[in-house]
Symmetry: D2
């Protein structure tokens, strides 16, 4: 029998992408799609072929769900997650609310108090390539941000060794416009974003930094500060992070490449390109893949890691389904491409 799944926040970009994926998922039945526009159908709100009726979150709570995706803005998820968890329903939360365990750090970056700190302990950070075993046992998974996904996957094979200078990591990241969500802001208007390209929140201010640095600290066992410069790309879906790391000692690029391919050998959704080839958004658009390429600048003892995902899929809804598959004991790639 299919699993009964709900979505809270079905009318945002990640909500619709979830519906798109679940429609093709052989073992999941979308039982309740909740959104503010209660009583309307999804295709009334946003052009799409899904005539899914929108219900209230309360109704979703009573729908006998096996699991629920919370696809709400940060801060808005907390109460719903508590309610669903109190009924024993598994939750994959796509907001940032459970990604950082440190309440003070959360407060600093998200500029609001965390109202469900008691749940932070049970939340598992949902990057399957690191925490697969924990996710399998979890009832609450904090689905990673899109930038952190590209960056952590891009750095992971080097984080447990001693090859690179953790104090000198520069990340020049670029995101398609859907990463900002469906909000009425001037800079998200077509005529402002099209034929434009610009940095935003560069330096040490973007919210995802808290998540990136928290994870880097957990993985490496020491505090790590990175330089992070996000930019807005004139495209709908796609993200690419260019990561500059300094090698402590000369290592051949072939050796680094071997380490990466070895590390990701058994991963279904992470690909490391052969040396000499460079990744790009087109490799991963509309898929759950992360495709990584490596370039050496030997005269600078520098390594350039380029890491690409689709911000709405591996950076949000695809990874959320990947996590749910793991939580439910289903094949990890089910319903995903």
């Amino acid at each position: 029998m299919k699993k009964k799944i709900g979505i809270i926040g079905a009318s945002g970009y990640t909500g619709i992408e979830l519906i798109r994926i679940l429609t093709r998922h052989p073992e999941i039945e979308l039982t309740a799609a909740a959104a503010l526009e209660v009583g309307q159908i999804l295709s009334d709100i946003i052009p799409c072929p899904f005539d899914v009726p929108l219900v209230s979150a309360e109704e979703a709570l009573r729908a006998g769900l096996d699991a629920v995706f919370c696809a709400l803005p940060s801060g808005a998820s907390l109460q719903f997650v508590r309610q669903f968890r109190s009924q024993g329903i598994k939750v994959v939360d796509l907001s940032a609310d459970f990604r950082v365990k440190d309440v003070a750090l959360y407060q600093k970056y998200y500029q609001m108090a965390h109202t469900a700190p008691e749940l932070l302990g049970q939340a598992v950070y949902g990057l399957p390539e690191i925490y697969r075993a924990d996710i399998a046992k979890a009832d609450l998974v904090a689905n990673p941000g899109c930038y952190p996904t590209t960056i952590l996957l891009g750095l992971l094979p080097l984080l447990t060794g001693a090859e690179i200078d953790l104090a000198d990591i520069i990340i020049d990241a670029k995101s398609g416009v859907s990463g900002a969500g469906r909000r009425l802001e001037n800079n998200l208007l077509f005529c402002e974003a099209n034929e434009n390209f610009s940095p935003y929140l560069i330096g040490h201010v973007h919210r995802h930094l808290s998540e990136i640095e928290a994870q880097l600290a957990v993985i490496t066992g020491e505090p790590v500060q990175v330089t992070f410069s996000p930019h807005l790309l004139p495209m709908n879906q796609g993200m690419l992070s260019t990561i500059y790391v300094k090698l402590k000692e000369p290592v051949s690029i072939e050796e680094v490449h071997r380490k990466y391919t070895e590390h990701y050998r058994n991963e279904s959704f992470v690909k490391v390109l052969p040396l000499g080839k460079l990744t790009g958004v087109r490799y991963v658009a509309h898929t759950n893949y992360c495709v990584i390429s490596l370039t050496a600048v030997p005269e600078k003892m520098l390594l350039i890691i380029s890491s690409a995902i689709d911000n709405l899929i591996k950076g949000a809804s695809g990874q959320a389904v990947q996590n749910l598959n793991i939580m439910l004991g289903l094949p990890e790639t089910m319903g995903l491409l």
Copy 2:
């Protein structure tokens, strides 16, 4: 000495395009740029290289201007036009407020009462290719809409003859997103308009219809109703109308083409392509040109007229400067490309 010119509504898309053109205009000095954001400079409001200080409309009234462009939404212009005209200042109004002489028709399509009907009499419809002589003598020019510009220029050489069936004109029109102005609406968001294409207000409802049909009636001397279907293109600037007209009697396409080239022989900004070539937005982007191509479907006694402009230039600010040049006795093409 240079003419002193002001702009009311300097921070919209047509306002900025006016500033862009005037910056290069050898005989005009931008003396006052008014906008709601009084006290700020233009580049604070919208990314552009113009550090123009924004003043109030009242201040612009006291600036000793020779002429003013009103680049406000329809309905918002009326009071300012009255004020500037009462001081004897020439006005080119880019809104729809003075394009249609019939107050009832205005009210029907724009769903508001016209509050300056006394000025309608002196307003000249600013399509130089028809009304050049009147514009030269006018103090108030109603700058045409973008759709009407493509359509009237596309049809003009055939309107005074008897070749076509005026009762059976179908116009399938397509506009870049800037045609909608700088408004915070969902369908104008990048992620909604990009990789999208859709009709809007098709049938008999778009406001520009009032203007198109009013002008067609004046030119032909009889009431003319057309079918008008606008569509939204995923691009910033550009407009193309595909006009289907029925021939009453067989006329060779060569003859029609001769009529068009003859009609526009002395026009600086209207080009008729050789038979066999088809127009497109790229012909006219960022210029004041209208480029027209003609195609026959002889077995249907049908003529297809394709008429392209840049909606912000020949469809708005460029044509406004062309009109002002005429009003001030300057060379018509001055400052324009």
Copy 3:
């Protein structure tokens, strides 16, 4: 056991889209992907996450396939279709080679001789919404063109009645750039197509006209000539046809709408929007749906039908899989969204 399927022409846009769909198809196994680039893997040729090895068509012939997709340019398919058919392998051909039964008409529009006329008799035109029963029994299906798909689905409910004037149908159609295939031509360069929009092959010259008119003749039982004006949109995937038809007698738009919803009631992939709503590419992008909207212009006795598809999915690879599902006795929607 899964069906063994091959693709001839795997490295074009429709080939890759087929692979994308088949990867998610629970009952199909991609057994052989043939392309000119024999020995390379797909992701070497075009950025994508599919490390599919490319083989020769000869190898595909020996791979024990149950069925094959031919995704080659028109003219290039003929010999392969003959070879696969002679081995009893079912074929869905995505080229135009078997869409038109009339060899002379084919020769006129495609400007080459048809070299496999003996197969025309067994080819079924693969528009499931008309020919589902025939497709189920067919061994060779000619997958429809993208423009004809929008147009035939848009007109179908009216073709068997007597409401409209078949002699006066105007189709203003718009296609994303992928519709032109992956060819090195100036007008397909990014800088030429981006921020551009233009007609091409308008009048009575586009190849798809032969297919449209051939089908209209079969369905209505009389010769039908339409006016067809294709345009190139600055987007990757998507197509919208705006169809203008004249009503012979006054019919209310409600009645027409009822007829459409009734006609498509049981169709999985055709949706008719409620009156007052307008379709657009975003409704159908990256899906196998055709979404239709209807608008009346009563004073002109005119009906405007807007019909949108994704040209690579319902206009090519999605419909091809839909056809294969039917041919193999699988659920028609399997693997599709």
Copy 4:
């Protein structure tokens, strides 16, 4: 009397942009436009409103020109530059052929022998913000590359001091597609570049590196190697370089900002944004401006310089006209925006 100017290579993207600018230039008359398509008019080759007849380079040589722009690919310019110079005609060369004085370096990066080394001595590097005085006296100006323009202008105020570590400069650069010229290559096709974003030639291989490092050596008086990572943006015109430099000693961002505003105080085409504001392509699109913003990462002793231009204007044709204005003794901004 207007100056008589010619263009060699009029049908490429920079050639057309030159024509666009010269059309508005009050003191210049475009006397000869040469291209391979001799005998055709420009609008036959590429959609634009310019019916300029194309002549041969030989004809241009005999046209009594005061100066000529060579807008040819690198390597193709050399012979023409020699011919025009031998007739005493001033030349602005937009290729890379005269930018690097070191013939061996040229040969390494451009992989061809330099066939006019005798001219290298008289060529002045045409970045007016550095070499204005030399340009005024020059007969041959090597117009800078687009990437070097953003980078040199972005770094200039810091290069003569001792604040930054010249050995540790990382440049993450992004360019619109027109930067690659009008070439039939797969990665420049609309469907490949649209909704895509990717690095190319990263590491130490891009040709512009030779020019960047040669200039940095001249300006600083010591060899400087930078890390340079270009990326391809899905847009027509625009370029933004994000430059990461390490401060040797703590300097406040206010002090750095003061240095920049001071340095560029009298420059017409370089703007430094107030602290807290970030530049972007939209600031400079279709203008000759370079707009720079500064961000500090104090905890890393790092400075992030974001430098934006329009690659076809300040990065090519606009700067070329700026140089010619200087060479001819005209106001530097004439005809430019």
